[in-house]
Symmetry: C2
Subunit: 429 residues, 2 copies
């Protein structure tokens, strides 16, 4: 006889295998579904969220009560909580995704060959996406809708603290699928809160998961990146840099530095390290740091920085490798764009970096020599966002170099195939 | 004390770790190298191959003698053998890659945002490519040159039977790199024939391999796909289909069928299964099969096919799953494009499929509903080739849906990053 744990594990394996098979079976009708049908499903989902607001709030109340009993942190409780305004936000988010251009079938490139063959590269869905996220119930709707728009089946595995809220939202998504005649298995919510389910997803469910997208903090992403046997779209952290060149305009620099660091400190595109060209340290450093400090930012600097700005705290080596996600910035002087590039290539997480400069040569070197997903000139690092890029919505930001890089929107959730049109061509021997 | 095997294994691990570190170190200067410098290196390689023809032939003679002593098959011996003409072919191949457009820095897409930000998506190198191949010495030059053109460092692991030939060619590649002032470690040949080296590469050399490309037979690709902890560009097999619709012109069909199956039977784009619309079986089947048989092709058919064409051998279920790579074809009647699509989705390896038809509706269904890397209309499946697609050269054909699909040429060996140009934009709260 099996003891309980073994029997539970076997149970989870069987449940997840079934989830994988259902997702793969749903992927094909979904890939062939017309743009109109997917649009109708998404509008149906948005309507269902509106109509079921009361039951979503009731389900959320159970999660909130459980969360209070479990002593979740105030930040976690805030992320968990749904009210009318947030649920309207979820509805609006689904509607915005519905209005995006359908990527499937789009001709990305086409060309003719001398022998008369006409070649088209055409977007196709990726297949089955696995999304693993923490207790943010809204991700259930965002991720489900975005994957559907790109013609993919999706397996959603949300945090157990938000299980009731996610299930209530998921019921609305299924209602939308059903109303449009699409398979309800196109968007599945993992029906167990057992953590072993995550391990099964990371193994790929016998080839039934094509890519995994983790949404959450560093420890979740780290586990996914280490254990996944399928491709992962993710970034581990956003150690973003702002470099102030000697050719930078001071007023612009102050505005950008303040926004890049302080607009929202907890997002991956927030600047964590400020590099200032030694040539303008005497004029630029103090006004920039004064503004940051006045806005509530802690300044951690090198000896040189502290000599110019007494209120700074000493920066340790570890600071250059730290994503604070808080009102803290590390500051260093560098010898122009060369040393800025060296520092960034050495310490960056290759997410997003910005340069403030008027000298085009400095900008071009920064753009060419830094291998990060997003590089900005005279703009805030906080623009690192699919919405700000005009992609409409994103499922996350990727720092890998395979397939998707930067904001992952509907286009990045597709693959492609070639269609070749001839009139009897055979290949010469 | 370690016994010999343990000590050897530790040795291989250390050697491969060093290879990985050197590759990563070379990747950055290579990524920043100008198009002119890479061009000069490639021309230098081609010149070196020409100048060292004698020493390449001498090295090859050692492999040939060892191969004969080891009793390699005639096919393997043929692949192994180099003569003046084949070495000139290698030289010409490198020159052709030199002449390709440099992909690095190319702007793939660009657009403006309402706030004035200008966004560019720009090609960048992937990083470090690992190529694992069997005893075809020419792959050393092809793969090395192609990876270099895309700005990637490459680790080449060739078959041990071609070790001397590959080393002689590799020496020429290094000479070209050196003459252009590029790091010689940009193209490394694994300095041990120990099979454990392959296992180390598949583990990714501590993050120092970004993608693996296997070039060889099914057993090599299968091992790589099963064991690799990094992304793989590959196809396991090419079970390619040719579907003859009732609207097909008979003459065109005969030409295409003959070419698709018999032009070269051993390549991945060769047709393995022929599906004929039942509606034209009485008119089309016999003339097509007669031509194939006259060209030396064995016909394996269903009962229906055998009833129409007596010389056919019975096809077993296994035939639909078999990549013959030989002068054999499996033949079946289907009820129009619907059943053709069902058969292909069930049995295909999703490499390449062709339809012969004059009816545009049949073609569109075939193109839309089959999820293979390459779909052709009124053309031979043997066009499944990077050169035929106008990509100049390819490192292989991929059937996965991530990053690269279809022929893998220089563009597919790149990633991208975003360059965003502003004039002081900050993100609203």
């Amino acid at each position: 006889m099996l003891d309980k744990r073994e029997s539970d594990t076997q149970n989870v394996v069987a449940i997840m295998a079934e989830v994988g098979r259902k997702a793969r079976a749903a992927a094909r009708p979904l890939a062939l579904a017309s743009a109109e049908r997917k649009y109708a499903a998404l509008i149906g989902m948005a309507e269902a969220v509106r109509q079921n607001m009361k039951s979503i709030i009731e389900a959320n109340a159970i999660d909130i009560a459980n969360g209070e009993a479990a002593g979740l942190s105030p930040a976690m409780m805030d992320r968990l909580r749904l009210d009318e305004s947030r649920i309207r936000g979820i509805e609006d988010g689904i509607r915005a995704i519905a209005e995006l251009k359908d990527p499937v079938g789009e001709i990305i490139a086409e060309w003719d060959r001398p022998n008369g063959l006409h070649i088209e590269r055409v977007r196709t869905p990726l297949g089955v996406i696995g999304v693993i996220y923490e207790s943010r119930p809204n991700v259930t709707a965002d991720a489900g809708a975005l994957c559907l728009k790109a013609g993919n089946a999706v397996i959603l595995r949300g945090g157990s603290d938000s299980a009731h809220s996610s299930a209530a939202i998921h019921a609305c998504l299924k209602q939308g699928l059903k109303s449009a005649g699409l398979p309800e298995d196109a968007i599945q919510l993992v029906p167990t809160t057992d953590r072993a389910a995550v391990g099964e997803m990371l193994k790929g469910l016998s080839g039934n998961v094509d890519v995994i997208v983790p949404r959450g903090g560093r420890s979740l992403v780290e586990r996914v990146q280490n254990e996944a046997r399928v491709p992962v779209f993710a970034h581990l952290e956003g150690i973003c840099h702002l470099y102030v060149d000697k050719s930078a305009k001071l007023d612009m620099t102050i505005d950008i530095a303040l926004n890049a660091k302080m607009r929202r400190t907890g997002i991956c595109g927030a600047t964590e390290s400020l590099l200032i060209d030694r040539a303008v340290a005497s004029t630029h450093l103090v006004p920039i740091l004064q503004k940051l400090e006045a806005a509530g930012c802690e300044i951690r600097g090198t000896d040189e920085v502290m000599a110019l700005y007494e209120a700074a705290i000493p920066a340790e080596e570890q600071d250059w490798a730290t994503e604070y996600l808080d009102a803290i910035i590390s500051v260093k002087l560098v010898d122009g764009v060369s040393e800025a590039i060296d520092h960034i290539e050495n310490w960056s997480s290759h997410h997003t970096e910005a340069i403030v400069a008027e000298d085009p040569a400095a900008v071009e070197r920064f753009f060419n020599e830094i291998d990060s997903a997003i590089l900005l000139h005279n703009a805030s690092t906080q623009f690192a966002d699919g919405g700000e890029f005009g992609m409409g919505a994103e499922i996350g930001i990727a720092t890998g170099r395979m397939h998707a890089r930067g904001p992952v929107g509907v286009e990045q959730l597709t693959s492609f195939k070639y269609r070749v049109r001839g009139n009897g061509q055979v290949r010469p021997s």
